[in-house]
């Protein structure tokens, strides 16, 4: 064993580290470097604005601001609702689309369309469709359901952030759905058929066979979608209320103020945002390890 190891040439032993270096360098320098630089600024080390003293003042400023908790709640509420609704609808859609029937090929193709489309395009379409003078309002008027644009429910820039959620869900349902579809396909029908021959009902097959099979993949995408929605900037800025807004919008607003001294406060909000997602990631890893070991 030791002889073997000694005989492996240096070039061979360095092969994998060398292969990993460029990508790791990019992530460590740009991403982790950026996070560390941001952390320093949030802690008051910001020589460009003449601040060199370490302090937690900016965190206290950020967290005690009356807008902070409302923004945190708004962000969380949107991300949670989008993730939950998208997951349920996506799993449902995937379970239907994996069957072959007339129209299933077309539907599966159309289902993929939102995947490469930018979120801003989804927002643009939501505005055209759901604004009070939008296409749906016109269709409702043509059907005699409403008489004036003002009677169409105001779901853009609204308190419940429905417009924001619709834009996200238009993208995220196909994303989760296609992952689930891919998993179902790679698993194949044999487990289900086995359960069926053993006398399992349709409901039992769904609950005890299909759902456990797709669960790990669903949880993975759940985390990706939640984190993405939680940190998205442009959709809530465009379609949400200007107050209360979400944490990323608030962080960026503080950060972009002309006076450089408000930057550390913006940075502190951003770091809180990052910490929440890191905690989420750790919780997920624990969960994944737990479900694998049982």
């Amino acid at each position: 064993m030791t002889l073997e190891r000694r005989r492996t040439p240096l070039k061979e032993r360095l092969k994998i580290p060398l292969m990993l270096t460029p990508a790791l360098a990019v992530i460590l320098l740009l991403f982790l470097g950026g996070l560390v630089a941001g952390l320093m600024q949030s802690l008051g080390y910001f020589p460009a604005a003449g601040l060199t003293e370490f302090t937690f003042r900016h965190y206290v400023d950020a967290v005690t601001d009356r807008n902070f908790l409302i923004s945190l709640w708004t962000t969380f509420r949107i991300a949670f609702s989008v993730t939950l609704l998208s997951t349920v609808l996506a799993v449902g859609a995937a379970l239907v689309l994996r069957q072959r029937f007339s129209g299933s090929r077309l539907a599966t193709f159309l289902f993929q369309i939102p995947l490469p489309v930018p979120h801003l395009v989804a927002a643009s379409a939501v505005i055209l469709l759901f604004s009070q003078s939008g296409l749906l309002s016109r269709i409702a008027a043509a059907l005699g359901l409403i008489n004036a644009p003002g009677e169409f429910p105001a779901i853009l820039y609204d308190k419940a952030s429905i417009g924001v959620m619709l834009s996200f869900m238009w993208k995220e349902i196909p994303f989760i759905g296609l992952v689930v579809l891919a998993i179902l396909q790679s698993v194949g029908p044999q487990y289900e058929e086995l359960a069926q021959t053993l006398g399992a009902t349709k409901r039992q097959r769904l609950v005890h066979v299909l759902l456990p099979l797709i669960m790990p993949g669903v949880v993975s995408t759940w985390i990706i979608v939640f984190a993405f929605t939680f940190a998205n900037f442009e959709i809530p800025l465009l379609l949400g209320q200007s107050f209360p807004t979400t944490l990323p919008v608030q962080a960026f607003r503080e950060f972009q103020r002309p006076e450089l001294t408000s930057r550390p406060t913006g940075m502190a909000i951003a770091i809180v945002l990052a910490v929440i997602t890191v905690l989420l990631l750790i919780a997920y890893r624990r969960l994944a390890r737990y479900s694998r070991s049982t």
């Binding site: 994998i16 990993l20 460029p22 990508a23 790791l24 990019v26 992530i27 460590l28 740009l30 991403f31 950026g34 996070l35 630089a37 941001g38 910001f46 449902g92 239907v96 994996r98 129209g103 539907a107 193709f109 159309l110 289902f111 993929q112 490469p116 489309v117 930018p118 801003l120 395009v121 643009s124 379409a125 505005i127 055209l128 469709l129 939008g134 016109r138 269709i139 043509a142 238009w170 992952v179 891919a182 396909q185 194949g188 029908p189 058929e193 993949g217 669903v218 995408t221 990706i224 984190a227 900037f233 442009e234 465009l238 990323p248 960026f252 950060f255 913006g266 951003a270 945002l273 990052a274």
Partner: protein, 293 residues
């Protein structure tokens, strides 16, 4: 890609089972019908409304179809004052550079993760996948001051480097699942037959991974293409990309112009879809990869 045809159910016992399931059939068909309708409507309607709006000249309220058609919005969009062409050029340059950089740094790592077992693999995966979960915006905000000092703000390179933060993990994720399904045995055969490394890559590896590589590159391109806030930040508002021109129009600007810029903005995505629709469909390796993050 791996789209294995589903084996047909064996005729004997399976048929007996499906006969037993007959009473449920009606309900299943209703579900199918509803799913297909919802998908068709929610994909077709946005497209139709964008087209109608961009070609509408006068569109009074209760009308479902514009009263008068016109090319005014498109004329403004292609005019220099709208800055659409300038921003389109910048968007393309940035996305192409980001894709090239992601390709260069991501390929070796994807291969190492897809084909080799080594100590610390999980830690490496953890680090490389972190930007998928932890927002790139926070890192971009932190690095902004460093980029100012290095003179990278408002440059194509600077913006591409920041786009690389979300792009690299996705590239590595997609390519490592492509490599995981690829057997290097043929490469060894080619090597023993005397082919050098470059020829092995060109004639053995590349043809085997090309469709996966295309998907990875196109998606990397689109990640950069869709970036908004990181570009605003690092571009300092001087380097304008297409979403930055679109954004104010979506707020309170001219809806027809917003629609026509949106249609230009979505064009690469539509092209990507046509190129990759086969590799994304049922049972694709690419989408399955996201389930393993």
């Amino acid at each position: 890609m791996t789209s294995t045809p589903t084996p047909e159910l064996a005729p004997g016992p399976a048929q007996a089972v499906s006969e037993r399931l007959l009473p449920e059939r009606r309900q299943i068909n209703w579900l199918r019908w509803a799913t297909v309708t919802i998908i068709v409507v929610s994909v077709v309607l946005p497209g139709v409304s964008l087209l109608l709006r961009s070609f509408a000249f006068r569109w009074h309220y209760p009308d479902v179809v514009p009263g008068e058609w016109g090319l005014d919005a498109w004329a403004y969009t292609i005019d220099d004052t709208s800055r659409v062409f300038e921003s389109l050029g910048n968007s393309l340059r940035i996305a192409l550079l980001t894709t090239t950089l992601a390709l260069l740094v991501g390929m070796p790592a994807a291969r190492a993760l897809g084909q080799h077992q080594f100590r610390g693999k999980r830690v490496v995966e953890w680090i490389l996948m972190m930007p998928i979960i932890v927002p790139a915006l926070v890192a971009a905000m932190g690095i902004h001051i460093v980029f100012i000092r290095l003179g990278l703000t408002a440059t194509v390179l600077g913006v591409s480097l920041v786009h690389l933060i979300p792009a690299t993990p996705y590239f590595v994720l997609v390519m490592s699942s492509v490599f995981a399904n690829y057997s290097p045995a043929l490469e060894e055969t080619a090597r023993t037959l005397g082919a050098n490394k470059i020829r092995v890559f060109r004639y053995v590896t590349l043809p085997a991974i090309s469709s996966g590589l295309l998907v990875a590159c196109l998606f990397t391109f689109l990640i950069s293409w869709s970036q908004y806030v990181t570009t605003v930040l690092i571009g300092s508002g001087i380097l304008i990309t297409l979403p930055m021109v679109l954004f104010p129009f979506l707020g309170q600007g001219n809806a027809a112009v917003a629609a026509s810029i949106t249609l230009i903005f979505v064009a690469p995505a539509v092209m990507v879809l046509i190129l990759t629709s086969r590799s994304l469909g049922r049972g694709s390796t690419v989408m399955g990869g996201f389930g393993k993050v």
